[in-house]
């Protein structure tokens, strides 16, 4: 009963979003892209409307490419059943050709299975699980922006190289947190560092982290790895500042952080925090130019890596559609194969390629949050301290057990 009602609500939300641009799609056969993410919950700020803006930006920038393109929006509320029912409806009834973004690993994997079943294209940017291109890979999926392997390798490996060789973890007790802790520990130990301990806390009911922070402090570790996300990360950093951990020389590493996390903490509290992202607006001339163009849409708020991934992914997908024609592109496997065959090139991520398992090989950047005195204004938050190449930032093909690659 409950599930039915949810499905009904979800489809109502999806239906409400649909009629917006139907007018343009008449006449020539066009392509319809569905941005499916969190529009109302915890991940609204790190995916949400800004992801949609990035997708629309990509469509507008490509200009007239010979066929009309329409972007529709759905809110999966971080619930796999809602995400799955919107995806089914989009593919079955509404003529959506590609689903984009889909944060929250459980929903990301559910949608991957539906894309496979319906043979439709799926470009994931927001999901963190390496399973999308590993054990559960399929020919219809591209994973664009990041996964926990990248975060662990960049933050764990590069930090040890820079002298942060003893670690303590504060870990959210669910698959995502545990996976992040395990992977990061591996790179810390491989790099010659040592893991001194971990506090694994119940998720999501923990708001006070002072107890775990004191345990981290008394362990004597140089780096405290925060294997969590969103509000938990914010609370950890805020309270670490309060208890003088960072003032005492301990480095905090937010294993899944973003520009928005830093903005909500302020530089005074967040300074020195280590964060890995595969995009930052102030990285180079191309990212700055892209951000400048995007400003009109977002009112001056720059996007994070996940949102930029919706831009890069859309550009590359539409180029692939153009190359094989709209009719052929209705076949999800065909258009994704074309995406893998062509090199990628966009202003947010630069030049690169997509591997046969569907993983986009973009470099991972390790950033350190600036001191308030170093920052020239709001959103000027990161100093780049290390880069991991795209090849190194993706899990080795041999280790990830993608059945598609073996054959």
């Amino acid at each position: 009963m409950n599930v039915k009602r949810r499905a009904l609500l979800a489809s109502a939300a999806a239906a409400a979003a649909l009629p917006l641009r139907r007018g343009r799609a008449q006449g020539k056969p066009g392509i319809k892209i569905g941005v499916l993410n969190d529009q109302s919950g915890t991940y609204r700020d790190v995916t949400g409307p800004l992801s949609v803006a990035c997708a629309r930006q990509a469509v507008d920038e490509l200009g007239d490419i010979g066929f009309p393109v329409e972007v529709v929006v759905g809110d999966h509320q971080n619930k796999p059943d809602i995400g799955a029912s919107i995806a089914r409806q989009w593919f079955d009834r509404d003529g959506v050709d590609m689903i984009l973004d889909v944060p929250t690993s459980s929903v990301a994997l559910a949608v991957a299975n539906i894309a496979k079943e319906k043979n439709k294209a799926y470009v994931n940017s927001g999901g963190a699980t390496p399973d999308l291109t590993g054990a559960q890979c399929n020919p219809q999926t591209v994973h664009w922006t990041y996964d926990t392997y990248m975060l662990a390798r960049s933050t764990g490996g590069a930090t040890v190289k820079n002298g942060g060789d003893t670690w303590f973890f504060i870990t959210a007790n669910y698959v995502f947190g545990q996976q992040l802790q395990r992977d990061t520990s591996r790179f810390v130990t491989q790099g010659g560092g040592k893991v001194l301990g971990a506090a694994i806390y119940p998720f999501p009911e923990t708001t006070d982290f002072s107890s775990f922070l004191l345990q981290a402090q008394s362990s004597g570790a140089k780096v405290v790895g925060l294997a969590n996300a969103g509000g938990d990360t914010v609370n950890c950093v805020k309270q670490a500042h309060e208890f003088g951990l960072t003032a005492g020389g301990v480095k905090l590493a937010a294993l899944l952080g973003s520009l928005q996390v830093v903005d909500s903490l302020t530089l005074d509290v967040a300074q020195g925090l280590l964060i890995t992202e595969s995009f930052y607006w102030d990285l180079n001339d191309r990212t700055r130019a892209f951000t400048k163009r995007l400003e009109v849409r977002t009112g001056g708020v720059p996007c994070n890596a996940v949102q930029a991934g919706c831009y890069g992914g859309t550009i590359h997908y539409l180029k692939a559609v153009r190359a094989i024609g709209v009719d052929k592109a209705r076949d999800g496997a065909a258009v994704i194969a074309q995406m893998k065959a062509m090199p990628t090139d966009d202003d947010a991520f630069g030049k690169g390629r997509i591997r046969e398992d569907g993983r986009n090989l973009c470099p991972a950047y390790l950033f350190e949050v600036k001191k308030p005195s170093e920052s020239k204004g709001r959103w000027d938050y990161y100093n780049l301290i290390a880069t991991t190449s795209g090849e190194d930032a993706a899990p080795p093909l041999a280790d990830e057990h993608c059945p598609m690659v073996k054959s």
Partner: protein
């Protein structure tokens, strides 16, 4: 590894935790207990006097923190005035809620009040999320309370000491008001037999409205105290509210002193669990609740019928 080894490993680990670590967890537990106490106090007052299970309590706590942020960012009002102003503003909002919506449900089953206030909580949180996003807003402790004191066994932020102090004062004042003054006596009489009290010329509906507003004000005050410690975000209320309900159940529904003592006690129990077995720290409150309900179904301080 067999279960015995797991247990003995765990026990040895406990054995090696130094006494100062336990002591500092005790202090941290009291700080968290201060929030539980203030929130469950408001719930207990509202339940005791109005018979409404106020599920909107978490959302009102969140509003307290947001109003504090708004006062600072829109009109430049600092922390200390906000300590008074924000609860008053949110209490005024509670007053409107009670008059327009909640008061219509007094004759009905508990379930209706629960559903209404739960719905209100969802609406309030949704509105704040749409307006201010989900990643949280920054708020720093006031200058006078920044810094930390070395207690010998730990480095305690001054602000946290202040939280415990304010919570104790407010809890005692509320208890005194309800149990020891004539206003409190009238209030208690009105909940026992409203018709009789009305016959004495007391405006009972107004008394009840003010009680609800008072309970809401307590939640908002806890929100103000929380703003400098926690991320000020629309979910902050729903994260603590479950624990707070457990506190009220353990203390005994409607018992004022019970909910205060239980609040602090559970803060400490939870704090110690965070050292001994961190994974269990979320469940310990509920495990304790189950034991209490089995042994003493009315709660630790609940009155016999």
């Amino acid at each position: 590894m067999n279960p015995f080894d797991v247990f003995s490993d765990w026990f040895m680990r406990l054995w090696h935790i130094p006494a100062v670590a336990w002591l500092s967890q005790l202090v941290l537990g009291l700080q968290n207990g201060a929030f539980y106490a203030m929130l469950s106090l408001g719930l207990a007052v509202i339940f005791g006097m109005l018979n409404i299970i106020n599920f909107a309590h978490g959302a009102l706590f969140m509003m307290g923190a947001f109003v504090t942020w708004m006062l600072a960012n829109y009109i430049g009002i600092g922390y200390f005035p906000a300590l008074i102003l924000a609860p008053l503003i949110v209490a005024a909002f509670g007053l409107v809620l009670e008059r327009t919506l909640i008061s219509r449900l007094y004759g009905l089953d508990h379930l209706y009040g629960l559903l209404l206030t739960f719905g209100l909580a969802l609406i309030i949180e949704g509105l704040f999320r749409n307006t201010y996003g989900s990643s949280g807003l920054p708020y720093s402790p006031p200058g006078a309370l920044q810094g930390a004191t070395n207690l010998g066994f730990m480095y305690m932020p001054n602000y946290r000491g202040w939280v415990v102090f304010v919570a104790l004062v407010v809890c005692l004042a509320t208890w005194f008001l309800i149990e020891k003054t004539s206003l409190g006596a009238t209030l208690r009489a009105a909940t026992e037999n409203a018709a009789l009290v009305r016959a004495f010329g007391v405006n009972v509906p107004r008394l009840i409205t003010l009680t609800y507003a008072g309970g809401v004000g307590l939640a908002a005050l806890a929100g103000v105290l929380a703003a400098p410690i926690y991320s000020v975000n629309p979910n902050m209320g729903s994260q603590v509210i479950n624990t707070v309900f457990a506190v009220v159940v353990i203390g005994g529904m409607g018992s004022i002193l019970g909910s205060v003592i239980t609040g602090f006690m559970l803060g400490v129990i939870e704090g110690l669990t965070k050292v001994a077995l961190p994974q269990f720290s979320g469940a310990v409150v509920f495990a304790f609740m189950i034991v209490v309900l089995l042994v003493q179904p009315r709660g630790l301080f609940g009155k016999a019928a």
